[in-house]
Symmetry: C3
Subunit: 389 residues, 3 copies
């Protein structure tokens, strides 16, 4: 077992998982080791079921394949049944308050996973609103337990993604220790679509700057992220003995990088305008904004992760990462984020990267519900119930 008796769980047990930077470095390490142990148990055909019954509620306010299946897999692995809160089929349209709905769905629920990444300033706020309602309902004796909330992507962070990415890096480079001093280029890349959320790049700079890494954030002028997250990343880099800079050149970011993460996003100020238009149901405004943005994007078609750019990286062999699905030039679009040959060469590690997400989510669930995850994992190992008979 990787999870030690001494593993910190103070910031995890009974606490929502909304932003990685609200958790201590020790807490994050605990999640990684619990995820590794859960994977090891399952790989040895030992069932890590720790619930005999219980619901894991999912609320997806945006489309999802990977995260939806990861959440379902994690819940199932631990013994929870997934119940989806589909707002279209609920009475939420009746003008019911978040406070009320949150209590109503939680009487026998252990976990609530939420994806809400459409509106800037809204997703994370909504999760906290749900959290406050659950706190209140639990304090009032309305709920027999206070379900834990897991951020499955919001406007600010995508913590189950960045944590899965970190576990991938830990696996590839051998340890978190080995990540110290490594250079990661989180860069904008061209895509023929617009309005992609900021949560992935923000999640990456907000997490990797804590690992003593050299983090370069690169984007064309005007494609900035939420300023507070950028500022925080700089501060964290300093504290962790790493480095953080913002550059306006993909090439500069790629230079000598150990890891590259080229991915499209919409500029912060565009997301702000878009949020206003979406709120006002201004379809013409949205169309106009899309047109304007695509035209602007098109100026930066050279922000593509090509073989040439890969040659700039450390020994030309940087690890290429993506949260998937990527816009692959000539495969899923004409011109996109990454050249087909680059993507194809890294396809297997990319898929392995994605494969950590179910275990990260399961680890967040487990540490949220159990005070002593190391003891629980040991019990599970010794109990040795087979997953497949």
């Amino acid at each position: 077992m990787n999870t030690k008796k001494t593993s910190s769980n103070a910031g995890l047990y009974g606490k929502d998982f909304l932003l990685t930077w609200e958790k201590s470095r020790e807490d994050l390490e605990t999640i990684l080791t619990v995820a590794e142990d859960l994977k090891m148990l399952r790989d040895r055909n030992i069932s890590p079921k720790c619930f005999d019954s219980g619901l894991a509620i999912s609320q997806f306010r945006d489309n999802s394949t990977r995260t939806r299946f990861s959440f379902a897999s994690a819940a199932n692995l631990l013994g929870l049944a997934v119940q989806d809160l589909d707002e279209g089929k609920s009475q939420i349209a009746h003008g019911e308050t978040v406070r009320e709905t949150s209590a109503m769905i939680s009487f026998l629920s252990d976990i609530i996973g939420i994806r809400d990444d459409m509106y800037l300033g809204a997703g994370n706020t909504y999760m906290r609103e749900v959290g406050a309602a659950l706190d209140e309902a639990f304090a009032d004796g309305v709920l027999p337990q206070r379900p834990g909330i897991i951020n499955l992507q919001c406007d600010i962070d995508h913590p189950t993604q960045s944590m899965a990415d970190l576990l991938h890096l830990k696996t590839v480079f051998g340890s978190l220790e080995n990540l110290k001093g490594k250079k990661i280029a989180m860069t904008w890349a061209y895509s023929p679509s617009y309005g992609k959320p900021l949560s992935v790049p923000q999640g990456i700079i907000g997490l990797m700057t804590r690992m003593g890494m050299q983090v370069d954030l690169a984007y064309p002028e005007g494609y900035g992220l939420i300023p507070e997250v950028v500022e925080l990343s700089g501060k964290q880099a300093g504290e962790s003995g790493g480095n953080f800079r913002v550059v306006n050149s993909m090439e500069e970011a790629f230079k000598d990088a150990d890891i590259v993460y080229p991915k499209s996003w919409a500029p912060f100020h565009v997301m702000e305008r878009r949020t206003g238009l979406l709120r006002n149901n201004d379809h013409d405004g949205l169309k106009g904004l899309e047109k304007e943005c695509l035209a602007n994007n098109a100026k930066y078609k050279n922000w593509e992760c090509t073989e040439e750019k890969m040659k700039l990286t450390k020994e030309g062999k940087a690890l290429y990462m993506h949260c998937l699905p990527a816009d692959i030039s000539g495969v899923s679009c004409n011109e996109g984020e990454v050249a087909a040959t680059v993507f194809e060469r890294y396809r297997v590690p990319l898929y392995k990267q994605a494969g950590f997400k179910p275990y990260i989510i399961a680890a967040i669930m487990l540490t949220n519900r159990f005070k002593d995850p190391a003891g629980m994992l040991q019990n599970l190992e010794q109990g040795a119930g087979k997953r497949v008979r």
Copy 2:
């Protein structure tokens, strides 16, 4: 354990739960005690799982949050997996008969929960049609078991709601015995919407008149309920040593009431016209009817549960009840069923009231499938499998 070896189960075991007034007083008491015991087991972290596998089918022909999650929670608590019958994704549009669909979904199913409250004269009838089909299929050897049907709201009754309400009253007042002589005001209230079902007020008068209570049904002239249910309620009140009257004044109903249940509904004769229009897909007719009804409703905006009216109740402290979501003036609408201060003062008891529903549904499931619920509960307690490891 509250459920006694001597608890009646004759009218529950293998019998559908469609209308509370088809069940004996003893049977209803059994459901309440089983619900209390299931809650106690879960609160003590004892898993009341009595199925190793099996399906609980849900069919929602109208939107639902509370009941959907209550049904899912109940099924999961007992070990059943929920499978939703979504008519839009099924072949029912092919002109398949209810008789056939009912058999086809039931080969390995233990419970079927149905919400069908849109059409007057249709919902309860549909449930009985499903029941007859299941009887036939079981008798014919098509089905290895005859799944039990639970009415999750129809045009006539909303028995899982009224039973949860009754368990709430039992809890607040200490016992069913203590409810004798207590006055409950089931009154119409203004809402800026129309077409709300009659099943809640009907369910309340149809159940509470059996508890020896003083039941006042109040509504503006013309807002009557299904006549048969009103008549039955009067008869039941006489038999139980209680009282039942219909008044046309909210104030009169509130006077000295121990409990008030102000809630909007559409008049019976409007629901009849609406049913006809819905059946004929008469959109213009529906729009006209809505306009007419909203105009009529607007005459009764003073039918609001205000602080002033609450002062009329017993010591000004009547228990305020609602099936939720309520139309709260100034919160979920401009003018509605209840003043925000009244609602807020009773928010915690209201949420607790709602919290009984999963256990009521689980108790109906359990008593439907097990001949000796007291013995089963004892086994579960002694087996003492942990719900959370």
Copy 3:
């Protein structure tokens, strides 16, 4: 137990179930006996749960009631949770490749069931594309297991239907041996709809010609099936000591038949044109084709399974079969595939026929995941965990 230690499992274990004619006769017999044993265990209230956790993914690209519930029942019976891949709620619209999605949903999945019967030349091809992606992801170490794929209906075959049909025949006639020499009439029948898939008639002739039966395929001129499947059926009939002919008369096929299977389908060449129009989103073209086809169908309204035609069969008592729902004259349509009195007389056996499908699917799942199904079934019987406590 019907499943013998010596039962063949070589072609089933770890192998997808896409077409019955890709499986050996012994493999098919194994599936039948495992299905019988699973049914027997459940009927004796023994839980055949062999998974403590795990996902069974379903992907329905067309509506389904029976197969959807059969798949859910089978998964639940063995201990798997169903997770539906709803393409509308996923990121597949983003241009993601089948190769990628297949890996992404499979990290913790044991079984994938797919219905894809809309496009000729597409459904089975899609399943193989998914299969190749899973093979690759497993070989690459991306997946810890290689989930098994079950064809829940494609453009070519509907193997869970035909296998359930075969188990029904085995039960009715006493043994597979007894089917030798029996005559089955798989015939086209009139329906007021068009575009019904070819997979059922193809599945029937592709399977029953292997049982030494006399298989008559009957349809009005121009209503042919995929030529390769017809050719294969003829070859198989020769090898199994049976017989296969194509006739253009319902009466001729019914003559002395032991079993009749009258069911509508669209002609192969129409399905080819329809596939092209669907691919081009040619709504006018589709409307025109529908009109033309319905007009053509209308010429063959006499292709109805009437009491008169039933009299032509062996002693007038042939077993009537249908995959359901049937177009019943005067019940689900004015003029259809079968007379109401014929359908009604065979309703109970028809429903029993449908009732085998959950067990067939469970048997396919079990033989796909376990090397020694006989040993597993024996363990389950001896373990004797109760399904219902």
